[in-house]
Subunit: 101 residues, 2 copies
């Protein structure tokens, strides 16, 4: 009998590891996620962001990551940065001495 092949659900996507940094680069966490939505939920949980709205950018250059499509194009182990509304990405060099040694 013929059977429809179901389109893989987002949950079926392979979960991959990422790193997520706070805006001031003082804190970084490793998080495994299978989708952007999943990552956003886990970031909210583990980085204790309470209910303040936030978004994710690439830590290296501040590129905003808004769509699942773009998220899926990124390599595993990509480093993200959490920004709250009104916060701006800053290049690492200008924060060179602020790694809280």
């Amino acid at each position: 009998t013929q059977q429809l092949v179901p389109k893989p659900s987002p949950e079926a996507r392979r979960a991959r590891p990422y790193r997520v940094s706070s805006a001031d680069r003082s804190e970084r966490k490793g998080i495994v996620a299978h989708s952007l939505e999943d990552l956003l939920l886990k970031v909210q949980d583990t980085m204790m962001l309470a209910d303040k709205p936030f978004f994710l950018v690439l830590e290296k250059d501040g590129t905003t990551v808004e769509t699942e499509e773009y998220f899926q194009s990124l390599a595993e182990d990509t480093m993200f940065m959490v920004l709250h509304k009104g916060q701006k990405w800053q290049p690492p060099s200008e924060q060179g001495t602020r790694y809280q040694l």
Copy 2:
């Protein structure tokens, strides 16, 4: 039997990730697109450009990207910049301290 090989539709082209910067480099977004037309539509949507006409240049040197052919020759992850009519591309160095600290 002979069969016509259909020319791949634009949608059949592999969607690839790009980055798109605002003219002042204060904002960057990651966007997946399969053609220049697709990218232009998504830029208009996600960067809230309303109805002001705009065009795309290479962020690194201001090269205008006008044709699908040239667009397809570019590597994935290429960084574009959105310019409105009358705006001029500026090299990053002159904006070095303008990352909105």
